[in-house]
């Protein structure tokens, strides 16, 4: 399975954000997208996720699930946590578990149950508390838990390590390595170094 | 007891009024009691988990100093 994007260009508010960008990502590999602020890292992730129509070019997942679009193979972990403060932590996670359609139901893609996901991220003690009572770091970890409970091969992470403390960052590193080992792919827009071994980098330059 | 029966032609309305009043006040009273019981139960469950209030923890640490 491969994530392929060819001569992608994207416009936001009439401004050309990036143009004729191409990338291919093999299974089991991770890609860090770097570059100064405003160069379009987040826009690239949103284009890969299918949330934004590219001005030109196309994104496809080769030998993935033919009926699904490229976006439906991806988990999108953006700046917003998609959590409802009025619902408890478990209710939030249980909803996404039931709601999101899995990207591929291959054998090696065993998703975790909500409880396991919370334990993997160290917030299982707050399971029955309303999400409103969580700290920023805990909310980010709860958003990360969504990636574990539904099996999708491609992870699109926007600033994954932001608002995470050292322990959580280490946990994130382990989860990412496990995902890659299972044949998954990760595209992360980030400034800091990724808690991963070998990571390809794609540097976006501001258009000359 | 005969006076009780002499409620006149509109007895139904009088009884209805008293029933409504009893109903509304009864429901409110029951809700307050139930709410209190539910809160006390969740509070004791919290305490059982070891989550203590600041003042309780302060008292405990004072007791600790006083004791040692």
């Amino acid at each position: 399975m491969r994530l392929v994007a060819e001569n992608l260009s994207c416009e936001r508010g009439g401004r050309r954000v990036f143009s004729d960008l191409a990338l291919t990502l093999e299974a089991g590999r991770a890609l860090a997208v770097t570059g100064p602020n405003g160069v379009g890292k987040s826009s690239l992730l949103r284009v890969l996720a299918g949330l934004v129509q590219p001005a030109s070019g196309e994104v496809r997942v080769e030998d993935g699930d033919p009926e699904l679009s490229a976006g439906e193979h991806c988990h999108y972990y953006g700046h917003l946590d998609a959590l409802k403060p009025a619902l408890t932590v478990l209710e939030n996670l249980a909803f996404w578990t039931a709601f999101l359609a899995p990207g591929r139901t291959g054998a090696q893609w065993q998703p975790m149950t909500p409880i396991e996901a919370l334990e993997a991220l160290g917030i299982d003690h707050a399971g029955d508390l309303p999400a409103a009572y969580l700290s920023a770091g805990q909310r980010r970890r709860l958003a990360l838990a969504r990636l574990l409970v539904v099996a999708r091969p491609v992870w699109l992470l926007d600033e994954p390590t932001s608002a995470l403390d050292a322990a959580s960052e280490a946990r994130l590193g382990q989860l990412m390595s496990a995902h890659l080992a299972a044949g998954g792919m990760i595209v992360a827009a980030t400034h800091q170094k990724m808690p991963l071994a070998d990571v390809g980098t794609l540097r976006l330059e501001a258009p000359a | 007891m005969t006076d009780l029966l002499a409620l006149g032609p509109h007895a139904g309305f009088i009884v209805a009024c008293y029933l409504v009043t009893l109903g509304v006040i009864g429901a409110l009273f029951a809700w307050i009691l139930a709410d209190g019981a539910r809160l006390r139960a969740r509070l004791s469950a919290m305490e059982a988990q070891g989550v203590t209030r600041r003042s309780a923890r302060a008292r405990k640490s004072n007791a600790g100093e006083a004791g040692s």
Binding site: A49, L51, L87, W96, F99, L100, A101 | -
Partner: protein, 223 residues
């Protein structure tokens, strides 16, 4: 297949009933509108009986429309809408489920409150039954049509009022048949069934047009 729809329906309903949810606010608004009108029109019971159904219907229309602006905006603000667009679930069915949950939280209480409020408007039992029945058949249409406006104004900060302005023209047929059906139940010559069946037809049409148009608007709204 029905797992995700059930999960979405329960989530929306639970959110609307919890603190900060908008479920019962619709009924309070309805009560406020119905109470205010006699102060303008005057306490003459016969006049109130005459305009009763219209007052109840317009109150229900306003209560539904003004409760709809958070239908998609709440999800957009916290990022849930992006995930819903990527969820691999048919967006039209998703919008339909959200509308049903919103109707169950806001529309249904209106239908249940209408008979109580019609006492203030001195409606006789037959008219009360007719208004309740027509509201039951008509309020889903108002929610489904309003969802189009909600989807169109999802990215606007103060979309609520604009939503009502955009959508009121589409809800006029529902209002006309709703009021004439509830009025027909009282005045003998005009039949009740014809306007009522047309009202049901309008609801079924809006059950198709609403979600499709709203889904399209949502796809364009994400930037």
């Amino acid at each position: 297949m029905s797992g995700w729809m059930g999960a979405l329906f329960l989530r929306e309903l639970r959110l609307s009933l919890r603190v900060g949810g908008g479920a019962l606010i619709g009924v309070l608004f309805f009560l406020a509108v119905i109470t205010v009108i006699p102060f303008g029109v005057g306490p003459d019971l016969n006049l109130l009986a005459l305009i009763g159904p219209a007052v109840l219907w317009i109150g229900a229309l306003l209560a539904t429309l003004l409760g709809l602006d958070r239908l998609f905006q709440a999800d957009r603000d916290d990022g849930s809408l992006d995930l819903m667009l990527m969820s691999g679930r048919p967006l039209e069915v998703l919008v339909l489920v959200k509308c049903l949950a919103h109707w169950a939280g806001t529309g249904l209480p209106l239908v249940l409150a209408a008979p109580v409020l019609s006492i203030f408007l001195n409606l006789e039992p037959l008219a009360i039954g007719a208004v309740a029945l027509t509201l039951l058949a008509g309020t889903p249409a108002l929610t489904l049509i309003g969802a189009i406006g909600a989807a169109l104004t999802v990215s606007l900060r103060r979309g609520g009022l604009l939503l009502a302005v955009l959508v009121v023209p589409f809800s006029i047929p529902v209002l006309i048949f709703g009021v004439s059906a509830s009025g027909a139940a009282v005045t003998e010559p005009t039949p009740f069934m014809t306007p009522f069946l047309l009202l049901c037809a309008l609801t079924l049409i809006s059950a198709v047009v609403g979600p499709v148009a709203a889904a399209m608007a949502l796809r364009f709204s994400s930037d």
